[in-house]
């Protein structure tokens, strides 16, 4: 009988910590009443902080389970980013739960399990890991979207997301089987080695297209974006805030790793797909958002557009491009979380939560600080200098120009100008329209998130050097 040693578990320490926290908190929640939910949320945040510490302690550049799981600089940076996003989303629900009957203890547990899935996606170096990580992450989110089960909108959004998500998983799996069949490998470096002569067989191209379709669904790139507005609108607002931030980071990281680790030798083949996805997303994100009246739907189209801009960096296929993607996702996540802190603060005493853009009318006169921070964030999302969003776009477009993708960069700049229109419209409504009734005071944690995000968009240059050097170091993992 041959004896096989269990591979090293040390690189998995952050995931193990998070999974254990999720299981223990699940038991704690099941045996206590609803009063315990805020405590469980706080413990979940503690667990995420523990996982972040564990990530900082692991040494980069190791693989385990025969190369199926990789911890490199890229994985560490994006895991920390995604975990911060998850922690802030949980933090923002605590106040919301108090006045909106959102006291299910399962919610933070589902977010923790989803965070484990995101970490698996970011570290996956094997097609099986890609699929399992994606499923773990998405299944937890499907449940979270429908968690408000007495609301038709929430359950409809959950069902829609689930059905379309299952379809995209099917496409992804089909692509994976084709790639396995034609290359004989599921581990990324092995796939790259088989493809190293540069010409891929038709089967591999087919598989690549299917895999990219599945991944494009997860980052909500056009033409796989149909679920986004409905799910964003139907899901409870804190869930939308989570959905728009951390999973997007994880999915974009996975997208980057798949194309750069596994399909690097056939980069001309995937570049044209990425360019197509990117142009379509930017244009649709710019034009479809114009007619929206619901702020969450507006954010949905905005996030579709932003994924298009991030994909510009990927299309460049260069170290600068990957740096651009990493920087873009960092800035996108912080700005989006700040924006959702504002949206979660849109609550009136008589009407409850409101979501219409017209409800923001005259905000500058009723709540000047909230209006100021919101304006900063929207200007930043629009990419207007000297705010941080401009530099995010600047880096990806610069990478595209350097890679001789000048038409792509021009389309990007033009659609960014169009998208500025709808951000400015929201600002105009806040600044110049007649004021509506005052919103209820925001919870302390929302105010903190909003203040930090607003300050970041203005004073980013204080932390710019460390972010840029960390992103550059992360991008170097592939080259």
């Amino acid at each position: 009988m041959n004896h096989i040693d269990l591979p090293s578990l040390a690189p998995l320490l952050p995931e193990i910590i998070l999974a254990l926290f999720a299981i223990v908190l699940l038991m704690a929640g099941a045996f206590s009443d609803e009063e315990a939910t805020p405590t469980i949320s706080i413990m979940a945040i503690v667990g995420i902080i523990g996982a972040i510490v564990a990530i900082c302690l692991t040494t980069p550049g190791q693989t385990t389970f025969d190369g199926a799981y990789i911890v490199d600089g890229f994985a560490r940076y994006l895991k920390i980013l995604a975990l911060i996003g998850a922690a802030i989303s949980i933090l923002m629900t605590i106040g919301f739960a108090r006045h909106q009957a959102f006291g299910r203890f399962e919610y933070p547990v589902l977010i923790l399990l989803s965070a484990v899935g995101m970490m698996l996606m970011i570290s996956a170096n094997d097609m099986i890991g890609v699929y399992l990580g994606l499923e773990l992450q998405s299944l937890a989110i499907y449940c979270a979207v429908a968690i408000n089960r007495d609301s038709t909108r929430s359950t409809e959004a959950g069902l829609k997301y689930f059905v379309l998500g299952a379809l995209s998983s099917g496409m992804l799996l089909y692509g994976i089987t084709l790639i396995y069949g034609f290359t004989g490998a599921t581990i990324f470096p092995d796939i790259a080695r088989v493809l190293s002569d540069g010409d891929a067989s038709l089967g591999v191209i087919f598989g690549l297209v299917f895999v990219m379709a599945g991944l494009a669904f997860k980052v909500s790139a056009v033409p796989f974006h149909m679920w986004t507005p409905d799910v964003y609108e139907g899901a409870p607002s804190p869930v939308t805030a989570f959905l728009a931030a951390a999973p997007k980071v994880a999915a974009m990281a996975l997208f980057t790793r798949v194309v750069f680790s596994a399909f690097e030798p056939i980069s001309t083949d995937w570049q044209q797909i990425v360019i197509f996805l990117s142009i379509m997303s930017m244009v649709l994100g710019a034009f479809a958002a114009i007619g929206q009246t619901n702020i969450k739907r507006l954010m949905a189209y905005s996030s579709i557009g932003h994924m298009g801009y991030a994909l510009v960096g990927l299309a460049a296929g260069s170290p600068e491009g990957v740096t651009g993607v990493v920087v873009y996702m960092t800035i996108y996540m912080i700005t989006t979380l700040g924006t959702f802190a504002c949206i979660l603060g849109m609550r009136r005493a008589d009407e409850g939560m409101v979501e219409d853009i017209s409800d923001l009318a005259g905000l500058v006169r009723t709540k000047p600080w909230m209006a100021a921070a919101f304006t900063l964030l929207l200007f930043s999302l629009a990419g207007i200098p000297p705010l941080v969003g401009f530099f995010a776009k600047f880096y990806v477009f610069l990478a595209a120009v350097k890679a001789d993708l000048i038409p792509l960069a021009i389309i990007g700049v033009l659609s960014s100008a169009v998208s500025a229109f709808y951000y400015l419209r929201v600002i105009k409504i806040m600044m110049f329209d007649d004021p509506r009734d005052r919103f209820e005071p925001m919870a302390g944690e929302l105010r903190t998130v909003l203040a930090v995000a607003g300050a970041f968009s203005l004073l980013f240059f204080l932390v710019w050097t460390p972010i840029l050097s960390a992103a550059t170091a992360a991008a170097q993992s592939f080259f």
Partner: protein
Amino acid sequence: MTIASLFFYLFAVVLLASALMVISSRNPVHSVLFLILAFLNGAGIFMLTGAEFLALILIVVYVGAVLVLFLFVVMMLDVDFAQLRQGFMQYLPVGALVGIVLLVELILVLGAYTLAPAVAEHVVVPIPPPSEVSNTEALGLVLYTRYAFYFQVCGLILLVAMVGAIVLTLRHQANAKRQNVAAQVNRSVEDSVEVRDVASGRGLQL
């Protein structure tokens, strides 16, 4: 060898016939029963090719669990299949046309298909040759070592599914009566039985 091919044809014919019955029988319960027959014969074919683990898993999981669940669903939900089939003849010409076009395309594509020579080079043998270990043993050798991590992740996914099902459907009913074993055991004779003298013809005032 002849016995093996005899069994192959037996299984294959029954499999195809029962698969045809699944889609053509009018009663949905019959469809499910024929599906069970189809799976059992499929398992037989797997067994003939030496994939005994897959064969047994097919029987245990699909026949033992999934199809029994199907049967429950078919019996509990009152689906009017006759109504679903309405308009079948109306859509038949277009459906048949699409089917024929697809078939012709498939024949054209697959007829010209040759396996790329590179594929044969890359085919890997992840497990020891079947002559050394049985495939159940070979799967066990990698499932709990090399793929132990993925095995655990599957466990987490199932945990999410369980949590999700409870979150989305379980409702605590306030007036539901539950059995409290401790309270039942702790009852004593004094507080549950009372002995009264009943005078004859008078009855008892409680």
